[in-house]
Symmetry: C2
Subunit: 336 residues, 2 copies
């Protein structure tokens, strides 16, 4: 069913039908009724592809993430999708595994579809193919993962990761812990470097020495973190608390602790970051710094919408905006 057929049925021209459809122009009340009836009768739905082709806008947005299997993404994705949908935008889901080749291929596919913008959560290192998007005129927002150089240059949404590290560590100190370890994420990512910086600063501000041998690194794969935790705990003078730079890492650490027969929090307190849905379900329930992932998604989506609309109106992208989200300390039993 297309415009032409509806027009024929109503006995008017296609332009008239088009006009009543998008209401931009005056149409005689009577003809409007006739057209409306024809539309109803035929159950007509406009062809979005044709509209996009004509208008140069697809009402379609690309969400690029390393993997939806990573526990932090479902909530974030949900916030993004809900918000975008309410604004008439549909989202293409692109899992990249941080494989630059996949990212590039997806970017090409999206460009071919005249995508309206990109929300990207996977930028690490150079990634010129991602950063270049803005220069090419595409609305772009970087969520959670980006570098210092991107701030002020590209729209970003993230939590204050220094505060995250600082507050978590400070809380551990205040509850009497003396030997606080850090289960750190990859320092290729600013967000983890910042959390680490917060950790060190809190230690320093409270007169504790920061011992590098109390920092273990989740280098991914093969349960490395699990074994490092076991190793860490079997040393002389083992930690009495572990700040885990993300909830998934905390789960691995707790798993290792359990297997060692250690009690949480009596022997060692554990605190995470994210507040993923499982955090309240594990034993003991995980004390964590909540990242408000859903809201982060909402913020990212809104930032993108703002760019799309601004560009539509002014032909250029607006000045980049930086959004920093609050965090909350969620007290549960694993620390406290």
């Amino acid at each position: 069913m297309n415009l032409k057929q509806v027009a024929a049925l109503a006995g008017v021209s296609v332009s008239t039908v088009s006009r009543v459809l998008n209401g931009k122009s005056y149409v005689n009340a009577e003809t409007r009724e006739i057209v409306l009836k024809a539309i109803r009768q035929t159950n007509y739905q406009p062809n979005a592809l044709a509209q996009s082709l004509k208008m140069g806008r697809s009402n379609t947005v690309c969400l690029m993430i390393p993997s939806i299997e990573n526990m932090m993404f479902p909530k974030l994705t949900r916030g993004i999708e809900d918000t975008l949908r309410r604004n008439g935008l549909t989202v293409f889901l692109c899992n990249t595994d941080e494989d630059a080749a996949v990212e590039k291929a997806y970017i090409e596919t999206m460009k071919m579809r005249w995508i309206d913008g990109f929300i990207v959560c996977s930028i690490a290192g150079e990634a010129a193919h991602i950063r270049g998007l803005r220069e090419e005129g595409y609305p772009l927002v970087l969520v959670n993962r980006f570098e210092e150089r991107d701030i002020g240059t590209i729209d970003t949404v993230a939590t204050d990761n220094f505060q995250v590290g600082y507050n978590a560590t400070r809380y551990l100190i205040r509850t009497g812990r003396k030997r606080i370890a850090l289960a750190q994420g990859t320092e290729d990512l600013l967000l983890y470097r910042e959390r680490g910086r917060g950790y060190r600063q809190a230690l320093e501000d409270n007169g504790f020495e920061c011992r590098e041998d109390r920092i273990i690194h989740d280098i991914g794969g093969n349960n490395s973190l699990y074994y490092q935790t076991k190793d860490l705990m079997s040393r002389q003078d083992p930690p009495d608390a572990i700040f885990c730079a993300s909830d998934p890492k905390a789960f691995v650490v707790m798993h290792a602790l359990h297997d060692l027969g250690l009690r949480i929090p009596e022997d060692v307190a554990v605190i995470g970051v994210d507040d993923v849905s499982m955090a309240s379900m594990v034993e003991p329930p995980l004390t964590t710094i909540s990242q408000h992932l859903y809201e982060m998604g909402v913020a990212a989506a809104n930032s993108l919408i703002r760019q799309i609309e601004y560009k539509e109106k002014n032909g250029v992208l607006p000045k980049p905006e930086r959004i920093i989200l609050n965090t909350d300390l969620i007290l549960r039993r694993s620390a406290g």
Copy 2:
């Protein structure tokens, strides 16, 4: 950059450029080189929207799920997306919260975009708007959630849920459990009715009485299952094992058990279904029936691709196919 410009640069007509691009027709080797060079020079990428409009095919697929936050969907989604991407298809992610209004709105949006097909994991009850899709000629596959009436009528992908219930229960019996409870999902869903049927059958086959008061129901929201578990365990003659109809339910049940001070598996064994990524991480690690969710996604995607290709060739949809996946019992510490 469009065909016309490339053609002008190469000094040929648009059709020649088009021809070298999709290689369907012979082009003089020399002209081909000239065109290829022009394409490279201009960094030309075809416009997928225009192609779709012309070809009546968008290379785009709709994935409709209740919510990506539900722990079983990330893996499934990943399998779907990986497979679809390898076949040149891009996926629209549609979270519906099982809200029929949202579902319908999404379906309209997708139709307007000339979507090539639907993968739906949210069908419960009537849902005529979903089932109607096939009659309207859209390739459609129902994953995991569907009813008896859909089998043979619509393409389906699922595990043998009767076996799931049977095997889980039988395992509990074989390991010496005597009073086996069931933490059941909503019986609005065939998949849970089947798991329940398997549970009852295994009980019967082994000479156990099936006591209805040992079946609790996850009616969603408000921690109902948590409190029901506590209630269940505080009765006379409490169960010594609980078969949970899904891993997320098992997590809630274990949480309640922990809070009751009960030991798993010494006091009560727990077994789940799904093998979501967290299953191996909780304490104690969860024994579960693996659903091979990633493979389920792969199978669903392949089923859809088969339909799309068949329809492209023959103009009609192929006879519906039913795919049933194997399961495996994953032994961990929560039972056994």
